[in-house]
Subunit: 199 residues, 2 copies
């Protein structure tokens, strides 16, 4: 037995494709599954396959949902006049954890990145423009990440949207709450100074 | 959307049952799978389910195998007169990585642990005794872990096997190669002194 047991190897190979799971962890997980009752392994396999099949994109905002519309879009109490534009559904989940935003979202499912060949037609920008046509939306908040691609995408969208008379805002950059000035990088510090407000 | 998207939650719940995968990692993996092409998720689910189904225990030693006998037992060049007794198939894989042992194995699939209600009949001790009946085996090496349960299991098996006239040995305990004396615990150091050899 110089080589691994083949079915265990097969499990480990697939598990190692997941992000954050290296060769060794995948091996360890495969051995764990080998010693797990077969019904439990079937339940895991089923949950992954069926789960993936059940995930749809909300027809309005592009967020993940099991239905036609996501829970945010389906909630008639949310403000319909404000859209928060984010890169992916994970960001929606992050924003919702804040419990402080009551408008709707628009999920781009990507970010402009000429280096990776991702242009405006590869992300859901035309869908965003179509949502603005009715005139219901009065403000869009650009909540892409504060990195090069995120900034570029935000400026690109701002340039498209402003002529429509819609208010365009960008989330604030600054020193994270609970962090230490001493360890904050210069770019963030300079953004924090630039965005200072009277108290 | 105060709560998670249901299919993603379902995936995360199952993934969080795996060892070393906490709530947050499970969530992250579920979102990753949601954005993964459905065919790749099916391939993962299939590999896990089919892999688990294909794993059998070697009819001779109890090691994992896809066939009737494991690769070690099926290898006629291995010494048939020496058995290395280990707790589980992971230990066989560890021993085989050493490339230095040419005998066979016996996998107990557990360790004596009265506290957890695991007694001699719950692990593969009777199968071990049956293997010794033919008289082919001249030595068994007890390679259970050097902890309380491992030592207790080793002594228990030694007491059973010695009367049969089979040589019973225990793997050496000592300072691991590449480690630092300063950071070695006292029990290991005392074992290393006790097991000292002339050079």
């Amino acid at each position: 037995m110089r080589q691994q047991v083949e079915p265990i190897q097969r499990m480990a190979d697939e598990l190692a494709k997941l992000p954050g799971i290296g060769r060794k962890s995948a091996q360890r997980l495969a051995y764990h599954l080998a010693a797990t009752p077969i019904d439990q392994v079937r339940a895991l396999a089923k949950a992954l396959e069926k789960g993936r099949e059940d995930i749809k994109l909300c027809t309005q905002c592009g967020n993940y949902t099991a239905d036609e519309r996501c829970a945010v879009c389906a909630d008639y109490k949310r403000r319909q006049d404000i859209l928060c534009v984010v890169r992916d559904p994970r960001d929606v989940a992050a924003m919702e954890r804040m419990h402080d935003y009551h408008g709707l979202y628009h999920v781009l499912h990507g970010i402009l990145s000429p280096m990776d060949g991702i242009g405006p037609s590869d992300i859901r920008i035309s869908e965003l423009m179509r949502r603005l046509e009715s005139g219901t939306v009065k403000e869009i908040i650009l909540a892409t990440n504060p990195d090069i691609e995120g900034e570029a995408t935000a400026s690109y969208i701002a340039r498209l949207v402003k002529p429509l008379g819609v208010r365009v805002t960008r989330i604030a950059h600054g020193v994270p709450v609970g962090s230490d000035l001493e360890y904050t990088d210069e770019v963030t510090l300079s953004k924090a100074m630039e965005g200072r407000r009277e108290i």
